[in-house]
């Protein structure tokens, strides 16, 4: 019982996830700044590393304003619910060779569904704010969800088909360089689709600040906004970990296995995301839809066919 509490509160539960989310946020800033040729403050802690914590604590202690006309209960409740739902998938991810909270044989499904729930919650958040810009954001979130999640699900399905299981733990154990090579097209599709799910450039359409003022986040301030931002970064961590687990062999390393390698893989995916953020412009809704349905989904279906063929050819077993 005490072990369960340890898992919920510390590792890999709330404490760990908050830490890793803030840590990734810090890495995010540290990588993005030199690309922008920006120089941040040097004086907050070693090399200015406390700045992120200061920023977050500032946000967290600010006044939270509920606009007139908003649905008060929904408005205040949604940030908390989105955060909890975003933290849940941590239970099915094998963080270390021994640490996995829920050893379910449906790990992939749980992971995918919990991730897929988030946009609907964001839409409810937008709906409760009763703001025109937030409504635009909410509708865009839904449209993007419908188009991106199809590709995302199909990409997540490919390791499950290859290894013949939905148990994430077994997927990691069975992974090898060969499986990484076979899953590589699926991995690319996963990376593209998760940019859409996380609303990152070039698919940051639902929160385009220049167009619709951060969309669903428009009316949020203070603690509620902090929770929503934290949700986003928790989701980052979960999705990075999920991607590393599904396609890159999770905690498996070169000389030894361990959490370190999972973390490095997460940072690698983060790096990919940041390079795109620093070098690519946002596309429009129509272009996103066209890209998704004309190319991405077609390629993810082809990828499934490739997985079936590769499984028969290389993995030495029938379907």
């Amino acid at each position: 019982m005490s072990h369960l509490f340890y898992e919920i509160l510390l590792f890999p539960g709330i404490g760990y996830l908050l830490l890793v989310s803030v840590g990734l946020y810090w890495v995010f800033r540290k990588i993005l700044a030199p690309m922008h040729k920006r120089v941040g403050p040097h004086f907050n802690g070693p090399a200015g590393s406390f700045q992120t914590i200061f920023d977050l604590s500032k946000l967290w202690t600010k006044e939270s304003i509920t606009p007139k006309g908003a649905n008060v209960y929904l408005f205040s409740l949604m940030p908390l619910i989105t955060l909890i739902i975003a933290l849940l998938p941590t239970a099915v991810i094998p963080w270390t060779p021994t640490e996995i909270v829920v050893r379910s044989s449906y790990g992939v499904i749980i992971f995918v569904i919990l991730i897929g729930l988030e946009p609907i919650l964001l839409f409810l958040t937008a709906f409760s704010s009763s703001n025109k810009y937030a409504l635009f954001g909410g509708v865009r979130v839904l449209v993007q969800m419908i188009s991106m999640e199809t590709a995302f699900f199909l990409a997540c399905l490919s390791p499950a088909i290859l290894f013949g299981t939905m148990n994430l733990h077994i997927i990691v154990q069975d992974s090898s360089w060969l499986s990484f090579a076979i899953l590589f097209p699926g991995f690319i599709i996963f990376l593209i689709a998760f940019l859409g799910l996380l609303e990152q450039p070039p698919f940051d359409i639902p929160e385009a600040e220049q167009e619709i003022v951060y969309g669903v986040y428009t009316e949020y301030s203070g603690t509620n906004y902090f929770l929503l931002q934290l949700t986003k970064f928790a989701e980052f961590s979960i999705l990075f970990a999920g991607g590393a687990t599904l396609f890159m062999g999770g905690y498996k390393g070169i000389f030894f296995n361990g959490y370190l390698f999972l973390f490095l893989k997460m940072v690698f995916i983060l790096f990919f995301m940041i390079v795109l953020r620093a070098g690519i412009v946002r596309i429009t809704m129509q272009q996103m839809l066209a890209f998704c349905w004309r190319y991405l989904i077609v390629f993810s279906l082809l990828n499934l066919a490739w997985i079936f063929i590769a499984k028969a050819l290389f993995m030495g077993s029938g379907i």
Binding site: E211, G279, R282, Q287
Partner: protein
């Protein structure tokens, strides 16, 4: 030129003369003829009505209307004048908007500022001013500003009431799925402007720009200063390129005072003006990418811009509002080692240029996003009297530096730069090409100044200015400069023995460009608003003045 004079002579005219090399100045006897004359000019190629400038003569009890027509192709321009009565009820003239689309907002401005009513104008609502100035004509000489300011609370209440009323009206008028989106003035990408976007979902039905959030009444403020002091007002036209803004004003003042500036001052004006243009264009390029959520370019450009501002700081002591140019030359002399600071900036630009171009300016995703948005044809440029970067991106060859060379531009080697299609991406390319051109001009001017100093032709600490009289004779002048956003036309009027300007009209490019927004964006989606708005290179400072 002669042809225009012949055409004008067919009408009932009070006076006609050639003004400068590219202008014909003509005064009509009767304002009734205006539409006929304008139509005749239009059929002869003068298709662009640049601006309308009323001058209020309190003593003569008349308002003199000034119309500036330009022909972008053959560079023949016409300055048309006519008198109308000054009494509010009789202060009327025929509108030219049905024939010249670009006159729309100019006439609305004249209506709000001077109370001139335009017969036949399709949409004669006040512009720029707030509700408390409606029907009061604040730029008329007898307007009592102190009395107006005394009623501050009452004025604010008027504005608030109007806003609430508008909200109620919107709810009644709009259909079920339509909505009125207030895009600004507190929008991350709008700047101090409010676009009233009438949209159905993401589709735009119409856009009505509501401008005037940074209206400082510069044109009025100038009349409260003497001729030298006025430079600090004029440079507030826009913080991004203040040098060229003052050059234009200074030229108009020098023309009335009949002061010829020194050769060295001319070259230094070119140098400073081009540096100012570079700082502005760097921000323009950054702003263009910012509208699509890419902040890297803006950071890189601002990084480069700092080096150029370092030069401004070493020359004038200020980085942004330099007040470096004044009527009669320049405010300060030049120490030759200041140019070393400039050399650092040029080196920095040359270092960064290739990676900026390879990564961002030729970015495929950016092309994918921008090459079919906000396209302006050459005909629209003529009709709406657009200028500068926007006009040249559509393939129209206009550039005041070449059409009517001022300062030392006649000795600079340069050529027109144009693009073909006039879409958003062409305007970006235009900015970038012009940036390179400006760097080239800076290098030429810098070299010439170095040589001049070495040969003893220039004395950099003494030659920078000639004496400018305190009192100016009665006169009237126009002066044009190629500002970073396009042509700025100053119309300066002075009275006998004047210590301060009687009237200064500033025709600013962003005014006409903003007028295009509804035309460009109706039928598009709201994703295109920031992009088109950003690519038009609008500065709210010169939009509202």
């Amino acid at each position: 030129m002669q042809k225009i004079i012949d055409i004008l002579k067919k009408f009932d005219i009070a006076s006609i003369d050639k003004y400068k090399s590219t202008w014909v100045r003509c005064k009509l006897c009767s304002s009734e003829d205006l539409v006929q004359v304008a139509k005749a000019l239009q059929t002869n190629g003068l298709r662009s009505l640049v601006t309308v400038s009323p001058t209020d003569f309190l003593d003569d009890n008349k308002i003199e209307m000034n119309y500036f027509f330009e022909d972008y192709i053959t560079k023949r321009n016409c300055w048309l004048k006519c008198d109308i009565p000054r009494e509010m009820q009789r202060c009327e003239i025929d509108s030219l908007t049905p024939y010249f689309k670009g006159a729309n907002w100019s006439e609305r401005e004249a209506f709000s500022m001077h109370g001139v009513r335009f017969r036949g104008h399709p949409d004669l609502r006040p512009i720029i001013v707030t509700q408390d100035f409606y029907n009061k004509a604040p730029f008329r000489m007898d307007f009592d500003w102190d009395k107006h300011e005394a009623n501050q609370t009452q004025n604010i209440k008027l504005i608030v009431d109007e806003l609430k009323n508008e909200q109620i009206q919107n709810d009644k008028l709009l259909g079920e799925s339509d909505m009125m989106l207030n895009w600004g003035p507190a929008h991350p990408n709008s700047g101090p402007i409010s676009l009233k976007v009438h949209c159905n979902g993401e589709d735009i039905i119409s856009i009505d720009p509501d401008i005037g959030y940074v209206w400082r009444a510069l044109e009025h403020l100038v009349t409260k200063k003497d001729f030298i002091e006025a430079i600090v007002v004029v440079e507030r036209l826009c913080f991004m390129d203040n040098i060229n803004a003052i050059i234009g004003y200074a030229q108009a003042a020098e023309e009335i005072a009949k002061v010829e500036i020194t050769e060295f001052a001319k070259w230094l004006r070119v140098l400073l003006g081009e540096i100012s243009r570079v700082t502005s264009h760097l921000m323009g390029i950054g702003g263009f990418f910012n509208t699509m959520g890419l902040h890297t370019v803006a950071m890189w450009c601002l990084d480069m811009r700092e080096y150029f501002l370092d030069f401004f700081e070493s020359y004038s002591g200020a980085r942004i509002a330099t007040a470096a140019v004044e009527p009669g030359g320049l405010r300060w002399g030049l120490q030759e080692d200041m140019l070393d600071e400039l050399q650092k900036a040029l080196d920095k630009f040359d270092d960064t240029k290739s990676s900026l171009e390879a990564i961002f300016i030729k970015n495929k995703t950016m092309y994918f996003r921008t090459d079919k948005v906000g396209c302006i044809s050459a005909d629209e440029v003529y009709d709406y009297a657009l200028c500068g970067v926007v006009a040249r991106a559509s393939g129209v060859k206009i550039d005041v530096r070449l059409d009517e060379p001022y300062a030392a531009y006649d000795k600079i080697t340069m050529d027109y730069i144009t693009q073909k299609n006039g879409c958003a991406v062409d305007r970006l390319n235009m900015l970038y090409e012009e940036l390179k051109q400006s760097i080239d001009i800076i290098k030429q001017a810098k070299k010439h100044i170095h040589e001049g100093i070495a040969s003893g032709e220039f004395n950099p600490t003494k030659d920078h200015k000639v004496k400018f009289p305190k009192r100016l004779p009665k006169g009237e002048a126009i002066s044009r400069v190629e500002w970073s956003r396009g042509e700025v036309l100053y119309h300066l009027v002075t009275q006998e023995k004047a210590t301060n300007p009687y009237r200064l009209k500033i025709k600013a490019p962003s005014f006409n460009h903003t007028m295009m927004l509804n035309h460009l964006l109706a039928g598009q989606t709201i994703s295109d608003i920031p992009l088109v708005f950003g690519s038009l290179y609008i500065c709210q400072g010169d939009l509202d003045r």
